[in-house]
Symmetry: C2
Subunit: 160 residues, 2 copies
């Protein structure tokens, strides 16, 4: 009853994955809402463009889950402008890869300490939550960019 895999659960791995994939569906709609010519040019207050932020999210999500699942840590550092369609295609590939890799992670592993990408130490659940939280954080910034562009963002509560 007290080992890590059967510790008291706030949420199970399956439910957390579904929660995350709901966020990813919303983030995909936010990427989609940007005009292609604003994705890597528009920003507010000297911040990064939403295109650069979307590439950061892509460089964190699947690579983090792969690292937790396999112990192999690698990611991409390119933030060069890409057509929106390419970013969305990559997003969808990551969605499938995350589902597939997640199913290979035994529950007790989410409570294990590890060092992500050779430089970020933490418990696996915190490392994964960091990636999700970073997605929500930057997507919220994307909402402001869209509003500043006169575009209504997709509803925050809609996750299907």
């Amino acid at each position: 009853m007290s080992d890590a895999s059967t510790a008291q659960a706030f949420i199970t791995p399956d439910a957390l994955l579904e929660h995350w994939q709901g966020h990813r569906r919303l983030t995909r709609r936010v990427i989609e809402a940007f005009p292609d010519d604003q994705l890597f040019s528009f920003s507010v207050g000297g911040m990064r463009t939403f295109g650069e932020l979307a590439l950061e999210l892509t460089a964190m999500a699947e690579p983090m889950v792969r690292g937790v699942a396999t112990g192999e840590w690698s990611t991409s550092f390119s933030r060069d402008a890409q057509p929106k369609a390419d970013i969305l295609r990559r997003w969808d590939e990551s969605t499938d890869a995350i589902n597939q890799l997640w199913s290979q992670i035994p529950a007790e592993k989410f409570g294990e300490h590890m060092t992500a990408f050779g430089q970020y130490p933490g418990i696996a659940h915190d490392l994964i939550l960091y990636v999700i939280d970073n997605e929500i954080h930057h997507r919220g910034q994307g909402y402001v960019y869209l509003r500043a562009l006169g575009i209504e963002p997709p509803p925050f509560y809609e996750r299907q």
Copy 2:
């Protein structure tokens, strides 16, 4: 092994609370970073001010945890301007109340279906994550407001 309280855990209730309180420490610093005279006046793209957003966060956090813990659902709908010091004091009171109420929630309750505030049905863990995610979402917008005001926001990764 298979009942809700000992289901496989992505994260335990204690660890999730600590994760959330880390976010709350960061959000408090973002509120603090706003000049008092901009908190209820400045915004970007016709959005709500960060003061209004901070009051929304306050009206969701402790009331949600109280509802899950006790079944009593009530909240405040006022978003009238308040001095920053009053918002921060209220924030700190909520932090303590959340810790106290959280300790009264048996783990299995996080997997139960309920209807928050008489109108939001969901599993308790999803209802609570919604509150946390909404905090991260609006705080990310606060980062843009601060940058647009020429103020450097606190680092996202610092949660102590």
